[in-house]
């Protein structure tokens, strides 16, 4: 039964990656930029929850809500101040480097406010979980919660994109900014909305991640951010179901690799899988093949 347990833990970690990857993939699909600071939004969200729950002693639900609101505002502000002016810059690298600057900035502001020491994050979820097969398969509460949250977010996003006007506008902007604006779509507003959703998702991911791994530092978000980006690329960047699949695959591989192959080499295994997948399918699992017109 231990394999099943590891598999479920992998799915749980994968759901968290998937939630972060959804933010990455939406922003990439629509603004065509790698938001390197995305991982740091997770850290910001986590510190907000930490402050509200551990320092102010308010209930976790309040913490999550405030974190989502503040992260959303932060996402919108970052986009307006740092990214939007560079949208038509001569090189796409300009906005990438700026995103790296934003990432450093957020980490160092957190460092100034909270210090470098690890903060113990109290669990957001009090549910102890379920016991199956006569106690041989025990699933912890937060494991189930993160999987369920992941699925709910996927369903919500799919409905939002396919059924609402704003969602359709996102698809149009992702396809062709120029044509979309000719069709009367407000491209700037759509991009802002995308950043808002991505940042809100990062706050949710932060809450889940710090429950699973309750140690919070200013650099907490960086590696999961990179892994989630890998997940987004693995699934086919720009594709929402792709991000979900990529995240789950990555989480499962990481946990199983740690358990059965080598705990030190788990990162190498994760990145190795990415390389293999891209060599077989250069645009990821669900990515579209784009051919340049001659």
């Amino acid at each position: 039964m231990s394999f099943l347990n590891y598999l479920i833990n992998g799915l749980s970690l994968g759901s968290i990656y998937a939630i972060i990857a959804l933010g990455y993939t939406m922003v990439y699909g629509i603004a065509k930029m790698l938001n390197f600071a995305h991982g740091d939004f997770i850290m910001v969200g986590s510190y907000i929850i930490f402050t509200i729950v551990s320092t102010l002693g308010l209930p976790p639900g309040v913490g999550l809500l405030v974190a989502i609101i503040l992260c959303t505002l932060l996402g919108i502000t970052t986009e307006k101040v740092a990214y939007k002016p560079l949208r038509h810059a001569g090189s796409p690298l300009a906005v990438l480097i700026t995103a790296i600057g934003v990432s450093y900035l957020l980490e160092n502001v957190a460092l100034l406010i909270f210090g470098a020491d690890t903060k113990a994050f109290s669990s957001m979820i009090s549910w102890s979980g379920v016991s199956l097969a006569g106690g041989r398969l025990k699933i912890q509460g937060f494991t189930l919660v993160s999987i369920i949250v992941g699925i709910l977010i996927l369903i919500f996003l799919q409905l939002f994109i396919n059924k609402t006007k704003s969602g359709q506008a996102m698809l149009a902007v992702a396809e062709d900014k120029g044509a979309a604006s000719l069709m009367g779509i407000n491209v700037n507003k759509t991009i802002t909305l995308t950043f808002a959703i991505g940042s809100a998702l990062a706050a949710v991911a932060g809450a889940l991640m710090c429950t699973a791994y309750p140690s919070l530092t200013p650099y907490t978000g960086a590696m999961p951010g990179i892994k989630a980006f890998v997940a987004a690329v693995l699934g086919g960047i720009g594709s929402i179901p792709g991000a979900m699949i990529g995240g789950l695959v990555l989480g499962v591989i990481e946990i199983l690799g740690k358990t059965y192959i080598s705990s030190q080499l788990s990162d190498a295994i994760v990145f190795g899988i990415l390389i293999i997948v891209l060599l077989v399918k250069p645009t990821g699992i669900l990515g579209k093949k784009i051919q340049e017109k001659v």
Binding site: Y28, L96, I100, D267
Partner: protein, 354 residues
């Protein structure tokens, strides 16, 4: 004497600049005007300039974004260090370092070539993330590997030092897992570093202004047109990527021979370090080789000079980075500069003269 072309002049200016920088530093050192803290930064800032020149060949000239160049530095650092540690007592300093350097660069070139085969089939951001992945794999493996020698030969393990089964009396640990390599002779110094920087500059500049350089840049500008003009796209991508990696490897050799304990830590060899190199290249000007050298030197020293402000230095650095990017690249800022700044600077000069 033949008249120099504009490009040749520009090349010479770059080289002269480096030599001047070297001479000035030497004068300050000899006269005791340079603090030991600053002196300690000279070799690092030179090898980061070298790595930035190498990365610019990949990013600026070939036009492919690599986020794995710190991984190439790592290969150069470890392979040369392994050699130096093993031959520490057997060889005198000069041939030992020359051989270590050749081994470090050759190993990195080989690995760059092997990684290039799959990586260069991809495009754009996919290529970037795969180079990042390779860099992380290199770092991760070198953190987990144990290596030692005894009279029976080489021993390797991915588990722990004991499982290598080294002979107790003749065995010698070389790589001690995450603790890395200790005891690399500090064979590099500022002069050697500057010579290697000059050689790297000559290689890259001469390459760029040749048939091969034009072929590489034609691929960057328009792959399809390059192909139908008879350019072997795969060959030239590989050539540029391999040389770019090898130069980063050379920087790695200097790195490991300037530090007593070499560990494959993220801050030196992870994606963050690759990104730092990329920042040098972008701020120095994509494709501008001289710019990479200047940007690497200034940006490496800047946070170190801010050490007095300790807590705030990285904060200031990040803000400077964002503001510089916005100022340099935003179309609105460029327009504003063109419209107002020339007027402003004229008025400023007038007032200053008053």
């Amino acid at each position: 004497m033949k008249k120099l072309t504009k490009q040749q002049k520009s090349n010479l200016i770059t080289l002269a600049m480096v030599v001047c920088f070297y001479l000035i530093c030497e004068i300050f050192i000899r006269t005791g005007l340079m603090s030991s803290h600053l002196k300690g930064l000279l070799v690092p800032l030179t090898y980061y300039a070298i790595a930035a020149v190498g990365l610019n060949l990949c990013v600026g000239i070939l036009g492919e974004l690599s986020l794995g160049h710190a991984g190439f530095m790592c290969i150069g650092a470890f392979s040369s260090s392994i050699f130096s540690v093993m031959t520490r007592d057997a060889l005198p300093t000069v041939p030992r370092f020359i051989l270590a350097f050749i081994i470090g660069v050759a190993m990195t070139a080989l690995l760059g070539f092997l990684i290039g085969i799959p990586v260069l089939r991809l495009n754009g951001d996919y290529l970037a993330i795969v180079t990042l992945a390779f860099g992380e794999i290199i770092k991760n493996i070198l953190n987990a590997v144990y290596m030692g020698v005894d009279d029976k030969g080489l021993h390797l393990s991915l588990k722990d030092a004991a499982s290598m089964g080294l002979d107790a009396s003749t065995g010698k640990k070389i790589i001690n897992g995450a603790m890395g390599i200790t005891g690399t002779p500090s064979d590099s110094n500022f002069t050697i570093a500057i010579i290697i920087l000059l050689v790297s500059l000559i290689i890259v500049q001469n390459l760029v202004q040749s048939r091969d350089g034009r072929a590489i840049m034609s691929i960057r500008d328009n792959r399809i047109a390059a192909e139908s003009t008879g350019i072997n796209v795969t060959k030239y991508k590989m050539l540029a990527f391999t040389i770019s990696a090898a130069i980063a490897g050379a920087a790695g050799v200097l790195f490991s021979h300037n530090i007593s304990t070499l560990t494959a830590q993220g801050i030196y060899f992870g994606y963050n370090a690759s990104i730092m190199l990329l920042v040098y290249v972008v701020l120095g000007g994509i494709g501008n080789i001289r710019g990479s050298v200047i940007a690497a030197m200034i940006l490496y020293v800047l946070p170190e000079l801010l050490r007095g402000m300790d807590k705030y230095r990285m904060l200031i650095y990040s803000i400077v980075l964002i503001v510089m990017m916005l100022f340099n690249w935003s179309p609105k800022a460029i327009e504003f500069r063109q419209n107002h700044l020339s007027k402003f600077s004229k008025r400023f000069r007038k007032e200053a003269a008053r």
